[in-house]
Amino acid sequence: MDRRTALKKTAIAAGSAALVPSLFSLLQSCQQQARLNWEPIFLTIDQAELVSTLTDTLLPKTETPGALDMKVDMFIDVVFAKMFDKTGQDAMIAEMNKFDALCAEKFGDKFAELDTEGRKEFLKQQESASPKYNGKVWGTAVGVQEPVGFYRTIKSLALWGYFSSEEIGKNVLSYDPIPGKYLGCIPLQDIGNSWSL
């Protein structure tokens, strides 16, 4: 099974993810002595650093909190540990290593070691090179979902972790657990930000 066929079976949603094995595997660099302020339960320190810097680049702190403020990197570590089965974990790690190897090949170093501009430049390339998710009807993709690869998968997980966090869900987005009624056509300005639920 080649990677494309293997990943064709990939099913990633905002709320679920599962990966099938990839035959590709790359040795991981162990040189970097990373500094994290949290202890991963699944990822190595290097991998956790990649996830941290990646999610920070995707969703940086502005007037609103960034991915790291919402501990999105820690959440993704938990997702890998507890939502993925062994096969999915192995595939994810292999893909992650390949991502970093490509980064090193093109930019001379691993993603976490690049400066901000370097990280952005690599992600721009990934963005245009990565396939997209199909539309969904009632939670399931329509048509045949092509594999979206590591970048779009991790981006999807980062968005999920960020926007489903309590701070964003309750205090940044519009939170209304018991709407009480349905109003089908109202001015957006009456609501402001998107509904969180």
Binding site: G15, S16, L58, L59, P60, T62, E63, T64, G66, F75, V78, V79, K82, M83, F84, D85, G88, K120, E127, K132, Y133, N134, G135, V137, W138, G139, T140, V142, G143, R152, K155, S156, L159, W160, G161, Y162, F163, S164, S165, E166, G169, D176, P177, I178, P179, G180, K181, Y182, L183, G184, C185, I186, P187, L188, D190, I191, N193, S194, W195, L197
Partner: protein
């Protein structure tokens, strides 16, 4: 709430036994209890008390470590539920454990089950549509299957009867092919849906778009609260705002003092008395203790769900019925039907950026059947028809995954609602084919030693032809409605995805070609009634549950009347 018969030996004999407590079983229990019959409801799963047993009903995403997703261990229990795409951490406990309840897919078939008090009434889509004579006469007119022994006039008053109690919200339209229910106020369409509705109705005379007709209360009814638009239905509704056995029919049955529910009761078979020519009771296995025991009653209602009822009847063998109870015709287990699923079109809408909505409406739009409804709309491509469900809304942060962007502006932009999107997906009527069947598989037994089902079913050329038109028409309608970036789709799902299994113990006029008569009694064993999906002679293109409710109430009241006349 109810009298739980945990002490199995206490009372073995009742006036009536109801097998199953889902949508149809709950109605049977209510009607029989209210008719004065001491009724035993046998439920193969656990007790689920309204509200008390809805542990996840108020969860926000951040209340769960995986924010609502399932881990691999939980997912392993639900390969079928996961294939259907609806199972998650907040509703996992209402989906049967697929590993403990195996079946064989001779051809791919998705069989989603809910093994608890209330059954799949906890999980259903709640769309409720009356059938019309277009449906009841369909087999007779085009020669597929056998004729229904009833027509709309036979069931009309029973539709009204169940609707008044269940509570159906919707918009009256006066369409002959989709008779109006007794409606509670309709839910509202949103801005984009209203726009698309007016464009489709202008561009395609004869086609109509309306708000879905649903078993959600839009005003209080019988002490139940109205919908609060949380859209957390499949966790159990604390307001009892949608119709479930747990919130609606079983409490009514219980209020009579005539109801006993026995949980963990897997029915093995019905007991047939050759001398009396009747069924006298049922054999059950206690799912927890594996104890085998028998219960007796004057009448038995089979409401285990289409396939489980069929499984029980096939397994009820006697000298008189070597091939399953009431199976003189050889049709028991045959003519399995579902609806096709996930074929249609979706796209994006320009404009309405300054408009939004409030509330999470557990409902969408409906486009009733418009093909083959009269001479003018007749097509030579297929028989029968289809309808669409769908809806519109604004994209949220989830759309960010596909956007070719990231960083500060990207993140802040995702705080605002995204573009409006709209989709419709069709449901095609499936013909009753004798060869689409279930059989007992004695080689593969479950953990209770019970033979499992082998399911051999497929959609054929007529369903595929309907699907082709569903997709083409969907794309065309969206184009004419001004929708952009349209994607037509047909996931070619195998049967079962509709979760509308029907037909494996069909009603009919002739005992030689059908299992049940016009009042849902087994032709040759009149004190056994089947009123779940198994009884359906054809499948229509509309959702079937409302018709199960009406047929059940009708049959139960017939049973009570016949018992009084000492005819049973």
């Amino acid at each position: 709430m109810a009298n739980y018969n945990i002490d199995a030996k206490k009372n073995m004999t009742y006036d009536a036994i109801v097998i199953g407590s889902g949508i149809s079983g709950g109605w049977a229990a209510k009607e029989l209890c209210e008719g004065g019959l001491k009724t035993l409801v046998l439920e193969r799963g656990r007790i689920v008390e309204h509200v008390i047993d809805y542990p996840t009903m108020n969860n926000d995403p951040w209340d769960l470590e995986l924010r609502g997703a399932l881990g691999p261990d939980d997912l392993k229990k639900h390969p079928i539920g996961a294939r259907a795409g609806f199972v998650g951490a907040n509703n996992e406990h209402f989906y049967a454990n697929d590993l403990e309840n195996p079946y064989t897919e001779v051809k791919p078939f998705l069989w989603v089950r809910g093994h608890q008090m209330g059954g799949r009434s906890m999980l259903w889509g709640k769309q409720c549509y009356r059938w019309s004579d277009l449906d009841f006469a369909a087999n007779a007119i085009d020669g597929h299957g056998v004729d229904w022994p009833i027509r709309y006039k036979d069931i009309e008053e029973w539709y009204t009867y169940v609707e008044k109690f269940a509570g159906i919200s919707g918009q009256a339209l006066g369409l002959p092919q989709l008779p109006d229910s007794h409606f509670l106020p309709p839910m509202e369409l949103n801005c984009v849906e209203k726009d698309i509705k007016s464009r489709i109705e202008k561009e395609f005379p004869g086609r109509v778009m309306t708000i879905g007709r649903v078993a959600h209360l839009t005003e209080p009814l019988n002490g139940r609260g109205q919908c609060q638009f949380r859209n957390r239905c499949d966790r159990g509704c604390p307001y009892g705002a949608y119709f479930s056995s747990n919130a609606v029919t079983l409490p009514a049955a219980n209020a009579t003092g005539n109801l006993t529910i026995r949980p963990y009761s897997i029915v093995n078979s019905l007991i047939y008395d050759e001398e009396k020519g009747k069924a006298t009771g049922v054999r059950i296995i206690d799912a927890e203790t594996n104890e085998h025991m028998e219960y007796y009653a004057k009448i038995i209602f089979c409401n285990a769900s289409a396939l489980s009822t069929t499984q029980i009847l096939l397994n009820s063998k006697s000298g008189r019925f070597e091939n399953g109870l009431g199976n003189d015709s050889g049709e028991l287990g045959h003519n399995l039907m579902d609806h096709t699923y996930r074929v249609g079109a979706m796209g994006k809408i320009e404009g309405y950026e300054d408009k939004y909505y409030k509330g999470r409406r557990p409902n969408g739009i409906y486009i009733p059947r418009y093909v083959n409804i009269d001479e003018k709309t007749k097509t030579d491509k297929f028989v029968r028809g289809f309808g669409y469900q769908g809806g519109g809304g604004r994209a949220n942060w989830g759309a960010g995954a596909n956007q070719e962007d990231f960083g500060a502006d990207f993140k802040d932009g995702l705080m605002k609602p995204g573009q409006w999107e709209f989709f419709i997906t069709g449901f095609a009527e499936c013909l009753p084919y004798h060869e689409n069947q279930v059989t007992l598989d004695k080689e593969n037994v479950d953990k209770w030693g019970q033979p499992t089902l082998a399911i051999d079913c497929e959609f054929k050329e007529n369903e595929k032809a309907i699907n082709r038109q569903i997709k083409a028409d969907a794309v065309e309608m969206l184009e004419k409605a001004g929708v952009k970036d349209i994607v037509g789709f047909d996931n070619e799902h195998e049967p079962g995805y509709g979760i509308h299994e029907m037909g494996t113990a069909r009603m009919g006029r002739d005992p030689k070609t059908s299992v049940l008569n016009a009042t849902n009694q087994i032709h040759s064993v009149k004190n056994v009634f089947v009123t779940d999906g198994a009884c359906m002679t054809s499948s229509s293109c509309v959702n079937p549950s409302l018709t199960y409710m009406a047929l059940t109430a009708r049959a139960a009241n017939h049973a009570i009347s016949e018992l009084k006349k000492k005819n049973l």
